[in-house]
């Protein structure tokens, strides 16, 4: 009897909980679909950075979900830094996002500075943008065309141990194809790394 009385409340709570964790309950963004807009503070100076402004500046936009403490993400630090420099010079925009609740904005700023990133690293408090993108790991990459549609999602490459031993430079291949005006050859790969520490 009591259960019947409270059943709607319990069901509503369960539904609300499910909706509050979209990253865990919904499918990943589809290739070709418009990526959600966002605005987040730059970890370095706190100034807001909006996706729509970044999109307007580049031939494509690379969104990197990264971490400061994840060994897998950190294995790619130098690669992300080098690619950021090389492809920014070719007109592609880069944005890093840190969504880990365990990594405060001060540490994110220090890490970005230490790596010499030429692109802003944004702090995603409450992992709201990670949820919007259904991002689950670090490093995890999303590449958007100038209209904001998703053209590549997945990993940077397959070899976290050895940048010189990479055989499948998936992100590089995607960016080179975009710059050449061609379709991205492999639009989806599986990002491999540490789970984003959500609230």
């Amino acid at each position: 009897m009591k259960f019947q009385r409270f059943a709607p409340v319990i069901l509503a709570a369960a539904l609300a909980a499910a909706l509050a964790s979209p990253a865990l309950s919904q499918e990943a963004l589809k290739i070709g679909a418009p990526a959600p807009d966002f605005q987040l503070p730059n970890a370095e100076d706190g100034k807001p950075v909006a996706l729509k402004d970044v999109l307007a500046k580049g031939k494509a936009t690379v969104i990197l979900f990264i971490a400061t403490k994840c060994p897998v993400s950190n294995a790619y630090d130098s690669r992300m830094s080098e690619m950021g420099k090389a492809y920014t010079a070719k007109g592609i925009s880069f944005v890093g996002i840190n969504s880990n609740k365990t990594e405060p904005i001060v540490d994110v700023a220090k890490h970005a500075k230490a790596q010499g990133y030429v692109f802003p690293v944004l702090k995603d408090e409450g992992n709201k943008v990670a949820d919007l993108y259904k991002a689950g790991r670090t490093p995890e990459v999303y590449v958007l065309d100038p209209k904001g549609n998703l053209v590549y999602h997945g990993r940077i490459d397959e070899n976290q141990d050895d940048p010189k031993g990479v055989k499948s430079p998936d992100l590089k291949n995607a960016l080179d194809a975009i710059l050449a005006g061609k379709a991205v050859p492999v639009a989806e790969t599986k990002a491999f790394g540490c789970t984003i520490k959500r609230v």
């Binding site: 790991r137 397959e158 790969t189 599986k190 789970t195």
Partner: protein, 172 residues
């Protein structure tokens, strides 16, 4: 005097330790790591367990939730008769880091579940060889029945009760 004291202590330990940590932990100390190529999963992991349920846990030393759930899995392993079910760990640590980091972690944490180390420079090749719908996140646990049918797919960190429930399902 001292010899008698030592032998008394040894006798006491011999009686109590198996009761405390479980006889299986003593019976099967941590084995040296065996590497696992993508093509080896069925042959090296699944085939030897045919005839009894099998719990396969994918993990990494750098994965915090993996480290957190490990004691729960070890506790269930200790309590389970080896005749009733098999347990296997598969580390997805990289080929560069894994050979040193994994045995060190297992020894430090007294984990005695047999452990394989993935020997594929491309994680995605291995991930797809196990389960194409697996997104590669760890911890990830698959539970198979005695007939080799997959009966549970546990994503993320689990409790001992979660592991036990999945194993009970596998036992049917």
């Amino acid at each position: 005097m001292s010899g008698r004291l030592v032998s008394r202590r040894q006798a006491l330990a011999a009686c109590l330790v198996p009761w405390v940590v479980g006889r299986r932990a003593l019976a099967e100390p941590a084995k040296p790591l065996v590497t696992l190529a993508p093509a080896d999963y069925a042959k090296k992991v699944l085939a030897p367990a045919k005839g009894k349920p099998l719990v396969v846990n994918f993990w990494a030393t750098w994965c915090e939730p993996c480290r957190e759930e490990m004691p729960a899995l070890q506790a269930l392993f200790d309590e389970t008769d080896p005749k009733d079910a098999g347990f296997v760990l598969v580390s997805v640590d990289s080929p560069k880091v894994g050979p040193k980091a994994v045995p060190k972690f297992l020894e430090k944490t007294k984990v005695t579940i047999p452990c394989f180390l993935v020997a594929s420079p491309d994680p995605q090749t291995f991930i797809d060889s196990v389960d194409e719908s697996w997104d590669g996140s760890v911890p990830f646990t698959l539970v198979y029945s005695a007939k080799g049918m997959r009966v549970a797919r546990l994503v993320g960190s689990q409790t001992k009760a979660d592991f036990a429930a999945a194993l009970a399902k596998a036992k049917g």
